[in-house]
Symmetry: C2
Subunit: 149 residues, 2 copies
């Protein structure tokens, strides 16, 4: 039986909160096998490590190590992925993406769907509120993270 997307999201939310507590950008992610096993999880650490490549999804992906196939994996993220992480999903044929919210940022959801990825958008109120409050308080950092000048 496929795991419940809302249950999987809890892991990503816990990661986002960890990032927030560290003074970072509150975006968390987790990669699960379709059978519900957690393969890896992580969060955005641009601020904490001065590394602009550590987006939540990239962090979860790398922590999962090398996998034979990603077809039966589920990438769960608190916020819709943008080009960088959407490219990751598409390149490695990650079968399903669960998005905590796409209200504050639509990212590459449409592009992923057009190219065959199953995308489940939950629009979880906790994710929406956490991200909105953070963006309002940190507009420059937010623009840096999504590549806006």
């Amino acid at each position: 039986m496929e795991p419940d997307p809302s249950t999987l999201l809890e892991t990503a939310i816990a990661e986002a909160r960890r990032g927030l507590a560290e003074g970072g950008i509150p975006i968390g992610a987790a990669l699960f096998h379709a059978d519900g096993r957690l393969l890896g999880c992580g969060h955005n650490r641009r601020v904490q490590e001065g590394d602009p490549s550590i987006h939540g999804e990239t962090d979860a992906f790398r922590k999962a190590g090398r996998q034979r196939s990603y077809r039966d994996t589920i990438m769960v993220t608190t916020l819709a992925p943008y080009w960088y992480c959407s490219g990751l999903v598409r390149q490695f044929n990650i079968g399903t993406v669960v998005v905590g919210e796409a209200v504050n940022f639509a990212g590459g959801v449409q592009w992923l769907r057009e190219n065959g990825t199953r995308v489940v958008v939950l629009d979880d109120q906790r994710c929406i509120t956490m991200m909105r409050e953070w963006i309002e308080a940190n507009p420059a950092l937010w623009n840096e993270d999504i590549g806006e000048e």
Copy 2:
């Protein structure tokens, strides 16, 4: 004066050869400012570190640290970038991409051009030969790196 793309490519080729010498996938990359300054360089380390997220371009990008803007930067890579690294280029609006070769792999060159990135493809014979010989000798590892099962 804009730096010569062939000269910039030398740095990426040196990185690719370093990767090959380490027993890894021979793809190297370097991020330059448009004035010719090297900001960061690196190579694919999937094998060496068991980390599937370290593609050449990602490695060069992260080693460059946080930049205010990528508009005036040049990403140089020995092989055409695929979705993951093309997404990186597009998200951060990297102005120019110099591609050592797109013969063994076309990657996201067309997609990047359609979306406004300037892409210079050199089809350098050293890059073509190095990659072709490596792919022929390591088909499984190659497919893993581009997400083919």
